[in-house]
Every structure is written in structure tokens, then in C-alpha cells.
């Protein structure tokens, strides 16, 4: 595999550094974030760290690969991890509703908590609204970090519409809570704010519009919910801000994950720039599923030419390119020609794929020449067990 000009991302150095307390794996959907997070976690644990992997991906197979039938909202000890170096591995899957409920139960007196939990607005908010997962992932990360039971937490980010949603979560929450809408929604219930006549008239027009839009019942539920929730909001925002600052702290490393496809790398590029803007510590890029050429330098064009020459002496082609019928057993030369031609075509396809990936990756690296990059070769099969995760971890280290 040819190396890109960028420095090599040394993941072992990051996980071996005791000052690293949080690793955030981010990237667009389907690039192997969760598997990468698990493989890093396993490797770190077997190199002596007390690791907790927090995932938001409910992929059963991954849970199974770690020896669990399913993951839940509590960190579970993963069996079969070598403790020779004194480390351990826990894993958990974020249950956003459960996490939200726990916050309510922990921060409101029982009667009020019950009122909030029963509110239909809360029930929808906690289980379905786009964004809850991001808030709750941040919340859980903060909780795990504060508990200080683990010295390394590895988290993969939710498969959001945009990979950046979780970075925006605290700010968006803040904007919402400070927004006039909240005041508007709560004002008829509180009815204690000294409105000027003009403002008051403006607000009643707005309330009218909202009623028309949302319906009176929804508005009422929302008001009840927000009033009940009001006392908790401050703490909510403080914690979200604290988690945000935690992400900026030197103990955190962001690893951006991508595959050598234009969309994934465009997202990765955007992410790298955004992390820089937000002063978040970027460790580097892991480029998963890279196809190599196996060190063979025969070009795609020459492979195809040779394949064509072979096919012209060993005929039979179908509609979808050369389809070789079963060769007569008494003519080994014919069979070898056909097999060689197919192998050359395969090699050509492989080489062009590899060249295309190189071009796509090159567009990223030339825009971000200082970002350390680690290439991980494509595997034919998904990971089924700890041994598979361990192999991925080893391939990170280049062994």
C-alpha cells in the first residue's frame, strides 16, 4: 500500500498515554465507527487501561462479538479480555430514554419527576426527537467521566443527519432555553412577567399563531412540561457546557473515521475543519477499508490488454464481459488461459479501484497535509469475535 504524504497516526501512542482520558470516534454513517471504537477499546484494555466503550449503535453483531447477547445502558464487563497488563474492558450502549429519565429522577423531587415522566410532551421528546440522542450521548459521556471509574472512555458518535450534530447539541440546547419561545410558552402559566402593552399584544398574536399551528392541546402540554422542567433546565445546560469544555481539554482525542469514498471523506474534511474551529483536539484520521494492490505493479491498462490477448485465443464472451464456460478437462492450456484472463481482469478492476481510492484520499490529504492518517486495509469479513477485534487493533499498530 502506498503511503500518503501525511504523518502516520499512531493510535498506540494515544491509548498508551495515560493522560488520554477520552477518545471520540466520529465520521459519517457506515464507515466502521463502532467497530473501530471497540477495537481501540480492546487494544487499550489489553495494554493496561481501564476502558469503557460507549456506543450508540445498536448493532447486535458487535455486542455478540464482545460476548454479550445485547448491550444496555449500564457498562458491562467484557469477558475474555487479557488482563495480563492490568487493564479491563467495559462496554455499554446508550439508551437515550433511560438516560433522560434518570436525569429527571435525579434532579427533580419525586412528585415533580412523576409529573414530568407522565407528560406526553416529555415522552415524545425523550424517545424520539432528532437530537435527543446527541444530548444524551454527551450527558452519558460526562457522567462516565465524572464517575472516574475508568481511565479511558471511548465513544462513537450517533449516526446523525450531520456528523457534527453532537458538537452543536449544547449550543442548540442553550439557544433554545434562552430563547424567547420558552418564555413565551411559559408566560401564560407563570403570568408574572412585567410585559409592556406592545410586547404583550405581540405575544398574544404569537400565542394565537402557535395555537393555530400546534393545536391548543399540544401547546398546553408543552407549557405544562416546560414549567415542570424549568427548575431543571439550568443544571442541564451547565452540564452540557461542562461536557463541551471536557471535549476541548487536553485529555481528549478526536479520531475522524472515513472510508476512501468521496462522500465519507468530504464529511471527514468538514469535520476536521470544524474541530479546528471549535478548538477540539484532533488526533487524526483513520481511513478504513482501503483496497491495496498487493505490491503487484502491473497496471490496469496492461492487465486488460493482456486479458484481451488471452481471450482472443480462448474465446467465449457473454453480455457482461467475458464469461468463461467450464473448460474441457483435456485442454489444460485452454483452462489456464481462461483463468489467467479472468485473473488479469480482476487485477485490473482491483488496481483501478485502488487508484481511485488513492485519488479520493489524495484530495483529503492535500487539503489537510498535517493531519495524521492511518490506513486500515479492507477485510473480506465482518468481525465476529474478540479475536477479530484484536486483529483490527493489531493492524492499527501496523503489526
Amino acid at each position: 500500500m502506498t503511503t500518503l504524504g501525511n504523518p502516520r497516526l499512531d493510535t498506540d501512542r494515544i491509548i498508551d498515554d495515560r493522560r488520554t482520558r477520552i477518545i471520540v470516534c466520529c465520521g459519517s454513517g457506515g464507515v466502521g465507527k463502532t467497530t473501530t471504537a471497540a477495537a481501540l477499546g480492546l487494544r487499550a484494555a489489553e495494554r493496561g487501561r481501564q476502558v469503557c466503550v460507549l456506543t450508540v449503535d445498536p448493532a447486535r453483531r458487535l455486542a455478540q462479538s464482545m460476548g454479550l447477547s445485547s448491550l444496555d445502558n449500564t457498562p458491562r464487563l467484557i469477558e475474555g479480555v487479557s488482563s495480563a497488563a492490568g487493564g479491563s474492558l467495559h462496554a455499554m450502549m446508550l439508551d437515550m430514554k433511560r438516560t433522560f429519565d434518570e436525569i429527571v429522577e435525579a434532579h427533580a423531587e419525586p412528585a415533580r419527576a412523576a409529573q414530568i415522566l407522565a407528560n406526553p410532551f416529555y415522552q415524545s421528546l425523550s424517545s424520539s426527537f432528532a437530537g435527543t440522542q446527541e444530548y444524551m450521548a454527551m450527558e452519558k459521556l460526562g457522567q462516565l467521566r465524572r464517575s472516574d471509574e475508568w481511565d479511558l472512555i471511548i465513544v462513537d458518535t450517533p449516526p446523525s443527519r450531520s456528523a457534527l450534530d453532537f458538537l452543536d447539541a449544547p449550543e442548540r440546547l442553550g439557544r433554545f432555553l434562552d430563547g424567547r419561545l420558552i418564555r413565551l410558552l411559559t408566560s401564560p402559566v407563570k403570568a408574572s412577567r412585567p410585559f409592556t402593552r406592545v410586547l404583550n399584544a405581540g405575544f398574544s398574536v404569537m400565542t394565537g399563531a402557535l395555537t393555530k399551528l400546534l393545536g391548543a392541546q399540544v401547546l398546553r402540554d408543552a407549557q405544562t412540561f416546560i414549567t415542570a422542567f424549568d427548575s431543571m433546565f439550568g443544571g442541564f445546560r451547565e452540564r452540557a457546557d461542562a461536557t463541551y469544555r471536557l471535549l476541548q481539554a487536553p485529555g481528549t482525542s478526536f479520531i475522524v473515521i472515513a472510508v476512501p469514498e468521496p462522500d465519507a471523506l468530504r464529511e471527514a474534511s468538514y469535520f476536521v475543519e470544524r474541530l479546528d474551529e471549535e478548538r477540539m483536539p484532533l488526533a487524526g484520521l483513520i481511513l478504513n477499508r482501503v483496497h491495496g494492490t498487493g505490491g503487484c505493479r502491473l497496471s490496469a491498462a496492461r492487465s486488460v490488454a493482456a486479458a484481451e490477448a488471452l481471450e482472443s485465443t480462448a474465446p467465449a464472451t457473454g453480455a457482461n464481459g467475458p464469461v468463461v464456460p467450464a473448460a474441457p478437462a483435456d485442454d489444460p492450456g485452454h483452462s489456464a488461459k481462461a483463468v489467467s484472463a479472468a485473473a488479469l481482469r480482476l487485477h485490473a478492476a482491483r488496481t483501478s479501484l485502488s487508484e481511485r481510492e488513492r485519488r479520493v484520499a489524495g484530495a483529503f490529504t492535500s487539503a489537510h497535509p498535517a493531519v495524521p492518517v492511518l490506513e486500515v486495509p479492507a477485510l473480506p469479513e465482518d468481525v465476529h469475535d474478540l479475536a477479530g477485534l484484536r486483529r483490527i487493533g493489531e493492524s492499527f499498530a501496523g503489526s
Partner: protein, 337 residues
Amino acid sequence: MTARDTDWDGVRLHVVTGKGGTGKTTVAAALALALAHRGRKVLLIEAEGRQGIARLFDRPPLPYEERKIAIGPGEADDGRGQGGDVYALAIDPEGALLDYLQMFYNMRGIGSALNKLGMVDFATTIAPGLTDVLITGKATEATRRRQPGTPSGFVYDAIVLDAPPTGRIGRFLNVSAEVSGLAKVGPIRTHADSVANVIKSPQTAVHFVCTLEEMPVQETLDGIAEMRSIRGMQVGGIVINRTPPALLSQEELKAPPDLVAMAEALDAVGLYSTDALAATLAEELAEHARNVELADLARTELETAGQPIYELPMIAEGIDLAALHRLAADLREQGAA
């Protein structure tokens, strides 16, 4: 009248979902092109605001506006040689909200006031499920939109919705359930119900894009099961994307290659260091054989779903407009459109 039956005659709203990274947007675009034949007018809607459609068709970012981006294939036997039109619309939640206000209350003007208040933020990020209702609402509105004088009586003959990934599709489409906990009566509820009337009807089919790998296959089967559990929802086809090429028969792939004979054959066509080359090629063949075997396993598993399966080839050079047309032709040939 169509010249021949397709698997989805009668379907007007094609929802395309799939695991992230399987090529959902590409397949949605190819399907829209495939449907746009014989003067038919197709609207391709992007639900996730990534501007993937604009990039595929090599256009600047699309505004919140239905605009023509491509012409479908003409047909030789058509006599008119006339293709159809593909229009595209990139929906963003904010635009959809303002649209909704305009459509139902004629109060677009109030949009900027609501925006200042944080209402748009509220509706698009905080209000549960509202964004999904707005997006599916726009898609179903376009599906129902009438135009007297056209053969079908509708503005668009088909709508293709590039929907959220499989993991979120149930929640995305099951809008009325989503909203019912929140709004038992009122305008949002009415809107959600009218959306559900289109989505949970034979007019709509949910297609799954998949690659022949374990995780995407598992997610596809889970997604299909989820769709089947929602009353009235019609599961569409499974589109296998990026199928590796079939270059040799099973027997030939299984037989260990004769390295000496291969080296001779390579020698004869003027290649160098053919012993080493034969060994390398044999290794690559063995890896390919393993991949084909895994792909066959994955295909067998997908077949258990009992839905029509369409296969699209791997295009090593990347996807451009020519490649989209090729994929569209493949979909047409296999009866998907």
C-alpha cells in the same frame, strides 16, 4: 399505458432507504432516471439536506425548489424517442416548515417573526417528530398534487424519496404513531393523518438498498421486518448495489489454479516475471473466490425476505451521470421501473 408491466405499477411514491454507505442516494437517483421514460415526469426528493443529489448530477447546491436536473432515457421503440424529466428537490426542515405555514395557513410572512422567536429552531430541532412530519408531508403533497390535462391527472407521475438510513426509517415513516402521543387532535394531527394515508397505502413502496456484506444485509432484513410490522406499509424491492463482477464459474473459482500453466499463458502474451505474477494473480483469485462465496451467502440471506431483488454492478470508476444512466437501464431491465 406502459409498454410492459413493472414490479411496481401503481406505486407513485418510491421511498429509498438503506444502511449508511451502501449508495442509497445513487440508487434513488438511478431509480428516478429509470422511472422518467416516455415523457413521464419524476420528482427526486432529498430528505437529509446533504446535497448529495446536486453532487451526483454535477450541479450547484439545490435550493428549496423543484427544478429540472436531468432527462430520462428515450426509447428506440417509442417512435417519439422522447425521454421524461427528472426534477429534484432538496428539503430542509426550515423550508418545509415555512412551506407548511404557507400551504395550510397562508402565513409565510409570519415565518421570519417565528424564526426570531426561536420557533423554527424549536420546530426543526426540538419538537418531537415534527421535522419528519414536515418532510414526509412535503413528499406526500407532491405525490397528491393534481394537474388537469395530463395523462395521469397528476403533476408528477412518480416521486422518489431519498429517505433517512434504515436505522431511522421506521420512525421517519410512521408519522402518525409518532405524533399521536403528542397531538390527539389539532392541525398537526390532521396533517400527520393525511401523510399517513399516502404512506400507508399501495401508492407507496419502501425499497431497501444493500450491499452483499453482513451488516448491511442484517440491517436490511431488520428494516424489512420493521416495515412489515407497521400496518398498511408496503415493502418494495431490495436493490443490491455494487455487486462484484462474476468472472469465473464456481467450479473454476474452487479449483486451485495451475501456476505453471498460468505463467506460460502470461508469457505468451508478452508479460514479464510471469512466475511471480502468476503467484500474485492466484492469490488475488483466491481472495476473490472467498468474496464471491461470502456474497453468495449474503444474497441467499436476502432472498429469505421474499421481496424482488435487483442487482447493480460495482462501478470502479465512480459514479457520474453516464454511470447513473447505466444503473437506471439495469433497473429498468430487471423490472424495477
